[in-house]
C-alpha cells in the first residue's frame, strides 16, 4: 500500500515540477504570433476597391477574422478565396459579390483632353495614383493604379476609362498543357515515330 502511495506521490511531485517549468516557459518564451488579421490582409489583393462592402482591404480582413464569408473579393478571385480557405481551414466557396465578377487586371485611363480638372477622382483614389490639381489636367500613374475603378463614378464628365492591361511578351506566361483527359484514346492516333 505504501508503495502505491509512494508512487502516486512521486508522480504528483514530478507533475508539479514539470507543470511549473512548462508554465514558466510558456510565459518566459512566449512568441507573439502573427495576428490572424495581418495574415488575412497579406492575402488580399490590396486594391482597396470596396467591392466586398468594406472600406478597404484591412477592414475586410478584420471582418473575415470576425466570421464574415471569405468569398467577397472579386479582384482577388478564386485564387484568393483558395488561399484564405487554406489559411482559415474552411471550405473554399465560389465567388459571391453581388454581380461583380472576377475581371482581368485593369488600369484607369483619363481621356486627358476631356478632363475638366475637378479633382474629384483624386479624392476618390485610395492609393493616390492620380496626379493633378484644380483646373489642371489629371492623369493616372498607371504603375500605381490598382484598377479598383473608384475614380470612375465621381467623374462629372465621364472621362475615365477602365482598360484591361494588355499582355506583353514580358508579362506573357506559358499555358498549362491540356493534359491526358483530352486524348483518352490517343494510342490509335499516335503518329509513328521513325528513326532519324
Amino acid at each position: 500500500m505504501t508503495a502505491v502511495l509512494l508512487a502516486i506521490g512521486t508522480l504528483l511531485i514530478f507533475a508539479l515540477i514539470f507543470g511549473g517549468i512548462l508554465g514558466y516557459a510558456s510565459i518566459r518564451f512566449h512568441v507573439e504570433g502573427d495576428p490572424i488579421v495581418d495574415q488575412i490582409d497579406a492575402l488580399l489583393p490590396q486594391t482597396q476597391c470596396g467591392q466586398c462592402g468594406h472600406p478597404g482591404c484591412r477592414p475586410y480582413a478584420e471582418a473575415i477574422a470576425n466570421g464574415e464569408e471569405i468569398n467577397r473579393c472579386p479582384p482577388g478571385g478564386q485564387a484568393t478565396i483558395q488561399a484564405l480557405a487554406d489559411l482559415l481551414d474552411v471550405e473554399a466557396l465560389p465567388l459571391d459579390s453581388d454581380g461583380a465578377e472576377e475581371q482581368p487586371k485593369r488600369v484607369a485611363i483619363i481621356r486627358e483632353d476631356e478632363c475638366i480638372g475637378c479633382t474629384k477622382c483624386i479624392q476618390a483614389c485610395p492609393v493616390d495614383a492620380i496626379l493633378g490639381a484644380a483646373k489642371q489636367m489629371h492623369t493616372v500613374i498607371a504603375d500605381e493604379c490598382t484598377g479598383c475603378d473608384l475614380c470612375v463614378d465621381p467623374c462629372p464628365v465621364d472621362c475615365i476609362d477602365m482598360e484591361e492591361i494588355a499582355v506583353t511578351s514580358k508579362t506573357w506566361g506559358w499555358e498549362l498543357p491540356t493534359g491526358v483527359a483530352a486524348n483518352i484514346i490517343a494510342t490509335d492516333k499516335t503518329p509513328k515515330v521513325e528513326a532519324y
Partner: protein, 897 residues
C-alpha cells in the same frame, strides 16, 4: 595542355547530334536584307530607349537605342541607312506577341561611324572597360542575353577563382559556336584575355565537348601561339553539358547554390560568342551588330552557318539557304531541345538567335499525345539539376505552385531532358514553365499589393493628420472667440455717459424680449397642461386630474406674473425710447418706427386673441352639437361669440391705428401691408363664415325640421355674403393700391411685384372657384331637401361664376403683362398654416442668430456700442427678437387649435 573533365553532373541525355549538316559549307555571308528589324528588347531586363527618330540617317555602328536602367543594353545600327519605322513588330518570342522595333532601311553604303578601339586596354581600369563594353551593347550570346557589363560588374565585388568559357554547345543541330571557334580563334583568345584582365581569375578554363575536334585543335594552336594562360578542358558529349551550372560542375566540381549565381562561388561563365564580341569591342571598337547563326534542318538544302547583321528577317535567310516551304513542318528558333516554334518568318535575328531550324515532319514530328504518368522514374534519372520532375508535375497539374517551389522548381533549367525520356510523352517542361510564370505573376501581384497597401496606409494617415489639424485649428479659433467676447463684454459694462440712454434702451428692449419669450413659453406649457387635463378627464384618471389642475393653476399664475411684468417693462421701454428720441431729436424716424412696431404688436395680439376666442367658440359649438339641450353651453357660445366680436373690434382698432401710423410715416410702401392685412382679415372672415354655413347645413341635414337651425343657416348665409362683399372690397382696394404702387415703381422692380400680383390673382381665382363649388354643393343639397333658400343660392352661384370670369380675365391680363417683364422664380406655396408658422419661426430664429453673430463680429472688431446702434444692428436685433416671440406665440395659438 589538353585535359579531360574530372567531374560529372547528374543525369543528362544523348540525343542525335545532327551537327554535321550545317558544317559542310564554310561560313556564309548572305546579302543585306531590304529592311533590318531591331527589337528594343533583345536581352534580359528593361527594353532600350530609342535615340533616333524616323527618317534619321544612321551610320554603321551608330547607337540607335541606349540602355534604360541597370539591367539593359545599347543597340547599334548594323549598317548605314535610314530609320523608316519605330513600331510594333513580330519578334522571336514564344508568345508571338509584337514588341517595339526600330526598322532600318540599309543604303548599301555600309559606311562605318568612327570606331574607337581601346588600344591601351591593358592599362585601363576594369570599370572603364566595362563601361566601354556596356556602350558597345555586349550581351551574353549563349541564349539568355544577360547584359555582359552586369555580369562583369559582379566580379568587382567577388574574388573570381575561375573564368569559364562555355564552348560546349551541347544542343543538337547547332554549330554556330563551333564555326565561330574555327573561324575566329585568335579573336576568341584575345577576347578571353580582355576578360581575364577584367575579372582577374586564378584560372581560366575553356569547356568544350569532344565532338568538335577541329575547334579543339585550332584553339590549342592559338593558345600556344598567343601565349595565353588558358586551360582547354574537353568534356564528354552529353546534353546539357553546355548549361552554365552543369559546365561549372563538370569543370570545377562546384555546384551553384539554389537561387544563387555562379559569381557567388567565385566563378564567371562566358559564352565564346560573347568573348569574340568583347574582342571586337575592345580591339576594333566595333559594337555588337552581327552574329553567327546556324541555318539547318532538312527543309533547307544549303544548311550552313552564316554571319548576319542583327535584324535580318528569318525569311531572308531561309531564302538565301534554299528553303523549301513545302517540306517545312516546324520552324524553330534555337535548338530542338530548348528552342521555340515561330509562325511568322518575318521575325528578325537578334543578339541571342543562335540557330534557325527548319525541320521537316520526319525530323521533328508533332509530339505524341500526352499519356498518364506511369511513375517510371526516368525523368528523375535524366534531370541534370537533380530535381524530382515527377513531383513537380503533380504539383504543377494541381496548381499547388507553392509546393512546386518548395521542390526547387526554379532550379529547373528547362533543358527538356525529362520530356525527352518520358515514355508517356508528357510535356513536362511546359508544365514547369506554366508554374514558373504563374508564380512570377503571383510574386509581382504580391509586390504590387504591398506597394498599394503602403500607399493606402500613407494616404489614410495623411487624411487623418489633416482632419486632426483642422480640428485643432477649429478649437483654437473657438478658444480665441471666447476670449475676445469676454474682452468685448468688459468695456460694454462701462458705457460712456453719452451712450447711457441708448444702452439703457437696448437693455430694456432685451429684457422685454426675454419676457415675451418667457410668456410665450409659459402659455405653451399651460396649453399643454390643459390638453393633458382634458385627456385625463376623459379617461377618468382622478389623480392625474388633480395634479394637472394644480399645475395649471400654477402656470396661470406664472403667466399672469410674466404678463404683468411684460406690461410694466413695455411702458418703461416706451419711456426709454421716448427719452432716447428726446436725446437724439434729429433721428425722429426710429421713434415712429418703434411706435409702429408697438401698434403692430398690438394688432398681432388682437389677432391672437381673436383666434383663441374663435377656437374656444368652435369647441363650445362642438360640445353643443353633442349635447344640444345644454343651456349652459348655449350661454357659453353666446358669450364666446360676443368675445369674438370684441376681439374683432379690437383688431380693427389696432389695424386702424397701425394704418394711421403708417400714413404718418408717410411712406407709401407701408400702406400695402395694412391693406393686405385687411384683405387677409376679410378672407379669414369669409372662411369662417363658410365653415359655419357648412356646419349649419350639416346640422340641418341631420335634423331637417329644426326651425331654429334653418334660421341660423339663413343668418350664416347672410354673414357669408357680407364677408364675401368685404373681401371683394378689400381686393379691389388692394388691386388699386397695387396698381398705384406699380405705377410708381421703376421698370426693373415691376417683375417681382407683377408676379406677386399674379400669384394673388391666381389664388383669388382658385378661391373663387372653390367657393363656387361649395355653393354648387349647397344648391344640390338644398334641391334634395327642397329648401326655400334655393333661389338665393342660385343667385349666389351666378354671382360667383361672374366673379370667376372677371378674375380669369384679370389673370390673363396679368399674364400678358408678365410675359413682357422678366420671368420671376416660382415660390413654393406652403398651404399648411402650421408648417408656415414653423418655417416663419425657423426663419425668425435664423435671422436673429445672424444679427447676433454680426454684432458679435463687430464687437470683436472693436466697434463701440454707439457705432452698432447707428448701424441699426441693435434695432435689427430687437426686431428679430420681436418677430421670433410673435411666431412663438402664433405657434402656441395654433397648437391650441
Amino acid at each position: 595542355m589538353l585535359q579531360q573533365a574530372q567531374y560529372g553532373f547528374h543525369g543528362g541525355i544523348h540525343p542525335p547530334e545532327n551537327k554535321t549538316q550545317s558544317l559542310q559549307l564554310p561560313l556564309g555571308q548572305p546579302p543585306l536584307a531590304d529592311r533590318l528589324i531591331l527589337p528594343l528588347g533583345q536581352h534580359i531586363g528593361q527594353a532600350s530607349q530609342p535615340l533616333v527618330q524616323i527618317g534619321e540617317h544612321v551610320l554603321k555602328g551608330q547607337p540607335i537605342a541606349s540602355n534604360n536602367g541597370f539591367v539593359s543594353s545599347y543597340l547599334h545600327a548594323p549598317t548605314s541607312g535610314t530609320i523608316v519605322e519605330i513600331s510594333e513588330h513580330q519578334v522571336p518570342h514564344p508568345s508571338g506577341l509584337p514588341e517595339v522595333c526600330i526598322v532600318l532601311q540599309p543604303d548599301h553604303q555600309d559606311q562605318w561611324i568612327e570606331r574607337q578601339p581601346l588600344v591601351d586596354w591593358q592599362t585601363l581600369s576594369a570599370t572603364q572597360i566595362i563601361q566601354h563594353l556596356s556602350s558597345m551593347g555586349i550581351v551574353g550570346m549563349g541564349g539568355a542575353g544577360f547584359p555582359t557589363q552586369v555580369k562583369l560588374a559582379g566580379s568587382e565585388k567577388h574574388t573570381i577563382q575561375e573564368l569559364i568559357i562555355n564552348a560546349a554547345e551541347c544542343e543538337p543541330y547547332i554549330t554556330a559556336d563551333d564555326m565561330l571557334m574555327r573561324e575566329k580563334t585568335d579573336a576568341l583568345i584575345q577576347g578571353i584575355q580582355v576578360l581575364q584582365h577584367l575579372a582577374k581569375p586564378e584560372k581560366t578554363l575553356i569547356g568544350i565537348e569532344d565532338n568538335k575536334p577541329t575547334a579543339i585543335e585550332r584553339l590549342q594552336d592559338s593558345i600556344k601561339r598567343l601565349g595565353a594562360n588558358i586551360q582547354l578542358i574537353v568534356v564528354p558529349t552529353k546534353y546539357p553539358s553546355g548549361g552554365e551550372k552543369q559546365l561549372i560542375q563538370l569543370l570545377t566540381g562546384k555546384e551553384v547554390p539554389s537561387g544563387g549565381l555562379p559569381v557567388d562561388i567565385g566563378i564567371i561563365c562566358q559564352n565564346v560568342g560573347t568573348c569574340v564580341a568583347v574582342y571586337d569591342a575592345v580591339h576594333l571598337g566595333q559594337p555588337l551588330i552581327s552574329r553567327i547563326t546556324t541555318l539547318t534542318g532538312n527543309a533547307i538544302s544549303a544548311a550552313q552557318n552564316v554571319e548576319v547583321p542583327l535584324g535580318t528577317p528569318v525569311s531572308h535567310l531561309l531564302q538565301y539557304a534554299d528553303f523549301d516551304a513545302t517540306e517545312l513542318e516546324r520552324l524553330v528558333i534555337g535548338g530542338p531541345m530548348m528552342g521555340f516554334t515561330i509562325a511568322d518568318t518575318s521575325v528578325p535575328v537578334i543578339k541571342t538567335t543562335n540557330c534557325i531550324l527548319a525541320a521537316t515532319k520526319k525530323e521533328l514530328p508533332q509530339p505524341a499525345p500526352e499519356q498518364a504518368c506511369i511513375r517510371c522514374g526516368m525523368c528523375e534519372q535524366a534531370c541534370p539539376a537533380g530535381l524530382l520532375p515527377q513531383q513537380l508535375l503533380w504539383f504543377s497539374k494541381s496548381q499547388e505552385h507553392d509546393k512546386a517551389e518548395h521542390h526547387n522548381l526554379f532550379d529547373c533549367i528547362e533543358c527538356g531532358a525529362c520530356s525527352y525520356v518520358c515514355p508517356s510523352s508528357i510535356p513536362l517542361v511546359q508544365y514547369y514553365r506554366h508554374s514558373k510564370s504563374t508564380i512570377r505573376e503571383a510574386r509581382e501581384a504580391a509586390v504590387k499589393a504591398d506597394h498599394a497597401k503602403v500607399r493606402f496606409e500613407a494616404r489614410k494617415a495623411r487624411i487623418e493628420a489633416e482632419a486632426a489639424e483642422k480640428e485643432a485649428k477649429r478649437q483654437a479659433n473657438r478658444a480665441k472667440a471666447a476670449a475676445s467676447t469676454t474682452k468685448a463684454a468688459a468695456p460694454a459694462t462701462k458705457p460712456a455717459p453719452e451712450k447711457a440712454a441708448a444702452t439703457s434702451a437696448s437693455d430694456a428692449q432685451t429684457i422685454l424680449k426675454k419676457l415675451k419669450v418667457e410668456l410665450a413659453l409659459t402659455s405653451t406649457k399651460l396649453n399643454k397642461a390643459q390638453k393633458n387635463l382634458q385627456a385625463a378627464q376623459e379617461s377618468g384618471d382622478s389623480d392625474t386630474v388633480a395634479t394637472l389642475q394644480g399645475q395649471i393653476a400654477e402656470l396661470e399664475q406664472q403667466k399672469q406674473a410674466v404678463q404683468q411684468q411684460l406690461e410694466s417693462t413695455h411702458v418703461e421701454s416706451t419711456h426709454v425710447d421716448n427719452a432716447t428720441n428726446v436725446a437724439t431729436p434729429q433721428t425722429n424716424k426710429p421713434a415712429i418706427n418703434a411706435s409702429t412696431s408697438v401698434t403692430s404688436a398690438e394688432v398681432k395680439k388682437a389677432k391672437v386673441a381673436l383666434a383663441i376666442a374663435s377656437t374656444s367658440l368652435k369647441k363650445v359649438q362642438k360640445q353643443l352639437a353633442e349635447t344640444p339641450d345644454d343651456e349652459a353651453l348655449k350661454e357659453k357660445e353666446t358669450a364666446q361669440i360676443q368675445a369674438i366680436a370684441d376681439a374683432e373690434k379690437a383688431l380693427q382698432d389696432a389695424q386702424q391705428a397701425e394704418t394711421k401710423l403708417d400714413a404718418a410715416d408717410g411712406a407709401s410702401p407701408a400702406k400695402k401691408p395694412a391693406i393686405s392685412d385687411a384683405l387677409k382679415k376679410a378672407k379669414v372672415d369669409l372662411a369662417i363664415a363658410t365653415t359655419h354655413l357648412k356646419k349649419a347645413h350639416e346640422k340641418l341635414a341631420a335634423d331637417p325640421d329644426n326651425e331654429e337651425l334653418k334660421a341660423r343657416v339663413t343668418s350664416r348665409e347672410e354673414k357669408l355674403a357680407a364677408a364675401k362683399q368685404a373681401l371683394e372690397q378689400a381686393q379691389t382696394q388692394d388691386q388699386t393700391h397695387e396698381k398705384t404702387q406699380e405705377a410708381t415703381k421703376e421698370a426693373t422692380n415691376t417683375a417681382p411685384v407683377n408676379t406677386d400680383a399674379l400669384k394673388q390673382a391666381k389664388i383669388d381665382l382658385a378661391m373663387a372657384k372653390a367657393a363656387n363649388k361649395k355653393v354648387e354643393k349647397a344648391i344640390e343639397k338644398a334641391k334634395e331637401l327642397d329648401l326655400p333658400e334655393l333661389a338665393g343660392l342660385e343667385q349666389q352661384h351666378q354671382a360667383g361664376l361672374a366673379r370667376i370670369q372677371t378674375l380669369e380675365q384679370s389673370l390673363q391680363d396679368m399674364n400678358q403683362g408678365k410675359t413682357q417683364t422678366a420671368p420671376a422664380a416660382k415660390k413654393v406655396q406652403v398651404d399648411n398654416p402650421q408648417k408656415q408658422l414653423k418655417i416663419d419661426h425657423a426663419l425668425a430664429k435664423a435671422a436673429l442668430n445672424k444679427v447676433k453673430r454680426e454684432i458679435e463680429n463687430r464687437r470683436k472688431d472693436g466697434a463701440s456700442e454707439a457705432e452698432l446702434n447707428t448701424q441699426g444692428l441693435l434695432d435689427k436685433l430687437a426686431q428679430c427678437e420681436d418677430k421670433l416671440a410673435a411666431t412663438e406665440r402664433q405657434m402656441a395659438a395654433s397648437e391650441t387649435e
